[in-house]
Each structure stands twice: as structure tokens, then as C-alpha cells.
């Protein structure tokens, strides 16, 4: 397999971008990525593109990318893998280069969640992830989907409480303040989180990601071409995708996300590293409790160790392993198709020493999604070192 270099990355602001459609967001993200290339980049060099989008808005996804970005003469494919769409799109781009099929690939992720009313999103997403006859009519909205895990996790954990969930929200809001792209750039207190209106127990309003629009793009090239574009490429060191039973009824242990464990195993093995080698991570914190479970599933601590990690501020920037320095989904926002690609954008900046919330000396970073009916996870490991 050929090595894959990330030589450019960009993202739009995340937020309720009512004034922008998907046909605006996609070219904006792509142009940011093109402009980020150190030695300049001609978009005509792009040989193929992958577009990660969860819900199509304004119609035909691949055509929109080709048309709105002036890329009418290359193959474009759409990829949808629930909330793991973004990191899976990156994986597909990396595979295309590693295989030798293409030398320069564009990966875009974008979604326009707020193209429908804030409430109807519940049903839009349920239709994609729920069994039509069995689960759909129950009203198992996205927060409930994860709350069933978090409730069981809190029940079984000898240490974790709702306060530990709140600590995650406080941290990620704190991290988001310095991120100019983030949707929610304000600090919150433990009291605010714990006293906020309840959404789905145990998640209050501040335990939940906002609804967001946005896009992100990365440019991947073969190792031989990297020098042409930059002297400081970021290397795609490992990728992984894990799956699980799709119905909650069939998940034997809901205190963990087995897809994450499986995806991490693949990605660590491919990168030849272990969880202890990761300097910075962007993990899927659509709901606070999910971030805690991720710590354990990704191997950053032992089972039930997550509560102490957040309590001891080990996952703050400056801590043992900073998690979500961008603010995470919680504060940065969560346009599902864009989320994983935007995580890679953040890690790309971190590894190049360019982040507004820089982790000192970061050489290895990990991006992680978990989603769908908690049945899929995608992980990308990026490094400043080739091997």
C-alpha cells in the first residue's frame, strides 16, 4: 500500500447557517481546503472525489459537489454511513490513493441539518436508523438512542454520575471558546448543565450537541506527490470501521460501543501504535455520556476509568490526553456528514501546530465517530511522522 498524505484541509463555520445552502457550503469548504495547501494547489489536479452527506438537501449529492466546485470531469461518489460518514469518507479517499488507483483525491463532508424545522429533524433521522415496523413508531429520537446506553452505563458504573457527564459539557464548551469555527463559543458552568431543561434523561439541554450546518474538506495525495504541495504533510496512519447489531434489543452490553472497540483495533494495528501513543483526539461527543464511554472503548483508560479522567481534567488541553480541543460536537457543532472530516481538519491543524487551542508537541492524533443506531464507528489516525 502507498502512504497517503493530507496536504490540505478546510472547513466552514459550523452553526445554523440559514443564509447558506448545501450548494454554498460544499464549495466554501473545498476552497478553504484548496487555499490551505502550503505551496499552492490547482483543483484540476484532483482525480476523484468522495462526498459524505447524511441527508441529501437540494437534491443529487454527487452532482452538487461536481457542479458547485467546478469538478465536472472527475468521478464523484457519495458516501453515507450514519454519523460515521465523515471518517468513512476519509477512509475511502485514503484507500483510493493507497491502492494506486488515484494520486490526488478530494474528500468532502457536509450537511444542512437546519434545512428542515428543528423538531422535524427527529423523524428525519429516525427514518434512517430505525426498523420501520419495530422501533420507528416508538419515538426513539436520537438522544434516546444514546440515553439508553448512558442510563445503563451510569447504572453499572461504580463511580460515574450525571455530574461526570456535565463535566464533559463544561470542558468542551471551554475548548470551543477559542475555535473561530465553533457554533457555541461560550463557557458554561456545572450548575447550568445540571439545571438545564431535560431533553432525554440523563441528558439535559447542555449534554446534547446542537443542530448544525456546515462542511469540511481534506485533500489527500500519494506520498510521491506530497513534496510538490507542502513541506509539512500529515500522514493518514490508520483507519478503521466497526459495526454492531443494529437493534438495541440485541446489544448485550450497552455500557460500551463495540463498533468503536473494533474500529480502534483496526486503526491502531494499521498505524502500529497503541492508545497510549495518541497525543490528541477528536471523539464523537454528540451527547456527553458518549464521550465518557469513548474514553474506555478507545483504550484511553480502563473500564469505568472515564469518570476519574474527566474529574482529574486529564482530557483538557494541557492534560494527559486532550480530547476535543476543537470543542467537539458539543460546542463546535455537528453537521453529521461534515463532522468526521472536520475532526480530521482539527487534527491536521494540531499536528502542524496551527490550532487555536494547540496541544503542545502533538505528533499523533485520532478522529472518531460513532453513530447510526450506535451500530457503526469510524476512526482515522493521523500522524506527523510517516511511520
Amino acid at each position: 500500500m502507498r502512504r497517503v498524505a493530507m496536504i490540505g484541509a478546510g472547513m466552514t463555520d459550523f452553526g445554523e447557517l440559514f443564509e447558506l445552502g448545501i450548494k454554498d457550503i460544499v464549495p466554501m469548504a473545498v476552497t478553504e481546503a484548496v487555499n490551505s495547501v502550503d505551496k499552492g494547489f490547482d483543483r484540476n489536479d484532483i482525480q476523484a472525489a468522495w462526498f459524505g452527506e447524511l441527508v441529501a438537501t437540494d437534491g443529487f449529492a454527487t452532482g452538487i459537489l461536481a457542479d458547485s466546485c467546478g469538478l465536472l470531469d472527475i468521478p464523484v461518489s457519495r458516501l453515507e454511513n450514519a454519523c460515521a460518514t465523515g471518517n468513512d469518507a476519509v477512509r475511502h479517499g485514503a484507500m483510493a490513493i493507497a491502492s494506486g488507483m488515484y494520486d490526488v483525491v478530494l474528500v468532502v463532508g457536509a450537511d444542512k441539518v437546519r434545512e428542515t424545522s428543528s423538531r422535524s429533524t427527529f423523524w428525519d433521522w429516525m427514518g434512517m436508523t430505525r426498523d420501520a415496523a419495530w422501533d420507528f413508531p416508538l419515538g426513539l429520537v436520537a438522544p434516546a438512542n444514546f440515553a439508553l446506553h448512558a442510563a445503563r452505563y451510569l447504572h453499572e458504573s461504580p463511580v460515574a454520575t450525571r455530574e461526570h457527564l456535565a463535566m464533559v459539557a463544561v470542558k468542551n464548551h471551554h475548548h470551543g471558546v477559542t475555535n473561530p469555527k465553533a457554533q457555541m463559543r461560550f463557557e458554561i458552568t456545572m450548575e447550568q448543565v445540571l439545571n438545564a431543561p431535560m431533553v432525554v434523561e440523563p441528558f439535559g439541554l447542555y449534554d446534547c450537541t446542537p443542530q448544525s450546518d456546515g462542511g469540511a474538506a481534506v485533500i489527500l495525495v500519494a506520498e510521491e506527490l506530497a513534496d510538490r504541495y507542502t513541506d509539512s504533510p500529515v500522514w493518514v496512519r490508520g483507519t478503521g470501521i466497526g459495526l454492531d447489531r443494529v437493534m438495541h434489543q440485541h446489544k448485550r452490553d450497552m455500557t460500551t460501543f463495540p463498533p468503536t472497540v473494533k474500529a480502534a483495533k483496526q486503526a491502531y494495528a494499521m498505524a502500529g501504535i497503541g492508545p497510549g501513543d495518541v497525543d490528541v483526539a477528536e471523539v464523537h461527543d454528540c451527547f456527553t455520556g458518549v464521550e465518557l464511554i469513548n474514553y474506555e472503548d478507545l483504550g484511553f483508560c480502563d473500564k469505568w476509568g472515564a469518570a476519574k479522567m474527566i474529574e482529574n481534567r486529564e482530557t483538557y488541553v494541557g492534560g494527559r490526553i486532550p480530547i476535543n480541543p476543537s470543542g467537539g460536537l458539543k460546542a463546535k457543532g455537528h453537521p453529521p456528514g461534515a463532522t468526521g472530516v472536520a475532526q480530521c481538519f482539527e487534527i491536521w491543524e494540531q499536528l502542524r501546530g496551527q490550532s487555536t487551542n494547540q496541544v503542545d508537541g502533538a505528533r499523533l492524533g485520532l478522529a472518531h465517530n460513532v453513530g447510526g443506531p450506535t451500530a457503526v464507528s469510524a476512526i482515522t489516525i493521523l500522524g506527523i511522522d510517516k511511520d
Binding site: W123, A133, L138, G139, M254
Partner: protein, 403 residues
């Protein structure tokens, strides 16, 4: 008039927990079918549903006039889908008539979802107490009406109804003095009956079953009257052993909740049809090779990967909450708050994801035990989507505490 002799051996009654001791109201997940299932299962007790050869379902509150309630009722009762079922639009006179004309193995159910809600089911056969038709008169006194479109009117003249309706019809039947009257208010019943007539919680199709239940519990026998406006049926209840089982939780106020505006929950009727038997009969697919239970049924065994044809087997109905989530935000087309529960069924290892029922949303915790009961999960594009809800044992305690 031909009078035939049939006996009744079992009576089941069911009331929603919501309302007060005088009148119950259905919850959002109940209708005439779910109440009928509850009453029918109460009547059956541990008896194998295969003894039922004929079902008569009487109501004026059928959820569907077209599309069908019968298959859901049979599935909920655990009856074979080859069992004869008739839906009769009517009140207590129709029920009493059906009982008097029943054959061995007929289950006659009266169910009321509008107004004062409840259901009763009477199992007819060769043993028990005899019920013999004594008279019938069908007359018109439409002081209240409801048409096919649901438009209703009220002439508002109770004295006219009593004097030219009920009393005139009684006179035409030779002024019988019944020991119980179903379909009248307690005061009206008292005025037409001899002795201590049982006080009934419903006045529609289910009322006669409640009356018969009360009479056999008292060991009483004699003339019983079923009334619907000016239409009357009179029968004689004999002596004999009748087992009465009441699924009647004490009444308490229905929990509040707010319906968020929005489109109704969409449905795939092909998915509905594929799931129907397993979902409404609470039955899992048993693997022919390894015996593993898959719920919902699936093409490939969840345990061993066998793709051999499977057999549907009933699942245990008692279980324990494995995880719980209470949705408090508004969700379009739904009433919030509501609680979803993953229930582990008996010692099968099978889990199911259902709504909490019969209890205040949020009032169930992981580890709580309870049973699965037949409920209306949603109405989807006009189609009642039936399944099961988790009724926690703690709801019974809550009810006792409130009573």
C-alpha cells in the same frame, strides 16, 4: 322467539387505570381493541386460547370501520387466525343477545373506549351458569346520535328517554323486574330493578359483562336486563360456577402530557404485515438448528447463522427493565413526556424495546420488574399499530398508594 340454553364459565373485566372510581378514560395507548384483549385474557386466565372457537366483539368505539380490528384482537388474545370473529356495532343488548345465542367456546367481548371506558369478556360453553334469552325489543329513541363521520348530537331529554324509551320498552316485555340492569345510570338501574342492583362503572357494550360478573360474585341468579336507549334484551341467569377475573387497577389521574403538532408517524404497510404475527402475538422465531430465539424474527439465526425455516414461539410476558430513557422534549406527532424501556423477558435472554404503559412517564428504573401488555403503540397514517407496552409492578404500587 327461540330461546337456547348456553352457560357461561368465565368472565374477565378490564379497566384503564386512568380516571376516577366513577368513570375511567383510556390512555393514549389504549383503544377498544386493547381493552378487549385485556378483558379476554383476564377471562382466559391460564386456559389455552385454543378453546375459543368463535369471537364476538361488540362495541360502538371500533378504532377502524374499514381496515379491520379482528386480526389484531385475535393476535392479542393468542387465538389462531382461523377462528371466526364477528364485529358487531352495538351496546349491552347486543352482547347479551350474543351470549344467549353463543355456542361452546364462544368468547363474547363488549368494549367501550369513548366515555366511561372498560371492557368485559364472557366465555360461553356447556358448564357454568346458564343464560337464557327471555325477551327482546328494538325500538328507536335517538336522544343522542353519532354518525359515520363522527358527528354527534344530543336532544338532551332524559325524561323522554326514560318514559317513552326504557319504560315503554319494558312494558312491551311485560314489565320484568330484573336483578341487574346494564346500560343505565346507577339511579335509573335502581329504579327498574328489584333489590340491590350492582353499580356498574360502564354503560356501553361492556356493562352487561360487568353486571354478570357482579351477580355471579354475589351468587345471585335471576333476570338481567341490557339496555341501549329504547332497545332492550332480557335474559335469565341461572346458578353455577363462574370464574371472574378482574383486571381493574384502582383509578388515578391520567398523567399530563402535551401533543406536539406535526405530521402523524408514517407507516410502511409491507413492513407492518411482515412484523404482524411476531409483534402482536409477542412471539419469537425459534431456530430449527440451535433453538435460539430471535426477536424480532430474522432470516439468519442471531446465534448460529442457520437459515432454516423457524417456528414462532410465544415469549414470556414478565421481564425486567435493562435500560430506560424518558423523552421530555416535544416530538412532532407524539405526546411528551414518554418513556421507552428495554425489557429482558424472563430467563430467555430475549430483550424487547417498548414504551412504558400504565405508569407516569419516568417512573420506571433499571431493574424494575413488570409485564408486557397489549397496547396501541402509535396510530400511523390512520393505521393503529399495535404491539406491547411495559407495565411495571411499581405501577400497581403507585395505584395502591393513590387509591
Amino acid at each position: 322467539m327461540i330461546a337456547r340454553m348456553i352457560s357461561i364459565s368465565r368472565i374477565g373485566t378490564a379497566l384503564p387505570p386512568w380516571g376516577n372510581e366513577g368513570a375511567r378514560t383510556v390512555g393514549d395507548d389504549e383503544d377498544a381493541v386493547t381493552l378487549a384483549v385485556a378483558a379476554g385474557l383476564a377471562a382466559l386466565g391460564d386456559t389455552d386460547p385454543s378453546i375459543i372457537g368463535d369471537v364476538v366483539f361488540v362495541s360502538r368505539d371500533f378504532p377502524l370501520l374499514e381496515g379491520g380490528n379482528g386480526a389484531a384482537l385475535l393476535a392479542g388474545l393468542g387465538c389462531d387466525d382461523g377462528v371466526r370473529i364477528r364485529e358487531i356495532i352495538g351496546g349491552s343488548p347486543a352482547v347479551l343477545d350474543a351470549i344467549a345465542h353463543a355456542t361452546d367456546g364462544t368468547l363474547v367481548i363488549g368494549s367501550d373506549a369513548a366515555g366511561s371506558a372498560g371492557a368485559s369478556a364472557v366465555l360461553c360453553g356447556r358448564s357454568g351458569a346458564t343464560v337464557e334469552l327471555a325477551g327482546r325489543v328494538t325500538r328507536s329513541m335517538p336522544v343522542t346520535t353519532r354518525d359515520a363521520r363522527g358527528n354527534s348530537s344530543d336532544y338532551a331529554d332524559p325524561r323522554l328517554l326514560r318514559e317513552r324509551g326504557v319504560n315503554e320498552s319494558l312494558a312491551r316485555l311485560g314489565d320484568p323486574r330484573p336483578i341487574a340492569a346494564a346500560g343505565l345510570s346507577a339511579r335509573e338501574a335502581g329504579s327498574v330493578c328489584d333489590g340491590n342492583t350492582p353499580k356498574l362503572v360502564t354503560t356501553g357494550a361492556s356493562a352487561i359483562g360487568f353486571a354478570l360478573a357482579a351477580l355471579v360474585e354475589q351468587g345471585a341468579s335471576g333476570t338481567v336486563l341490557a339496555v341501549e336507549k329504547a332497545t332492550l334484551v332480557v335474559a335469565r341467569l341461572g346458578e353455577g360456577n363462574v370464574l371472574v377475573t378482574r383486571d381493574e387497577p384502582p383509578a388515578r389521574p391520567r398523567p399530563g402530557g402535551q401533543l406536539a403538532p406535526g405530521a402523524s408517524v408514517s407507516i410502511s404497510l409491507s413492513a407492518y404485515e411482515r412484523a404482524f404475527d411476531a409483534k402482536l402475538r409477542l412471539a419469537a422465531a425459534e431456530c430449527a438448528d440451535c433453538g435460539e430465539l430471535s426477536y424480532p424474527p430474522r432470516h439468519r439465526c442471531i446465534e448460529c447463522g442457520s437459515e432454516q425455516p423457524t417456528t414462532l414461539v410465544p415469549l414470556p410476558r414478565r421481564g425486567e427493565a435493562y435500560s430506560v430513557a424518558t423523552i421530555r422534549v416535544p416530538v412532532p406527532g407524539l405526546i411528551s413526556p414518554y418513556t421507552v424501556v428495554i425489557v429482558e423477558l424472563g430467563d430467555t435472554g430475549v430483550r424487547t424495546l417498548v414504551r412504558l404503559t400504565g405508569a407516569t412517564p419516568g417512573s420506571v428504573a433499571i431493574g424494575d420488574t413488570g409485564r408486557l401488555v397489549f397496547r396501541l403503540v402509535a396510530v400511523r397514517q390512520g393505521v393503529p399499530d399495535y404491539g406491547y407496552g411495559f407495565l411495571p409492578d411499581s405501577a400497581q404500587a403507585e395505584q395502591k398508594g393513590a387509591a
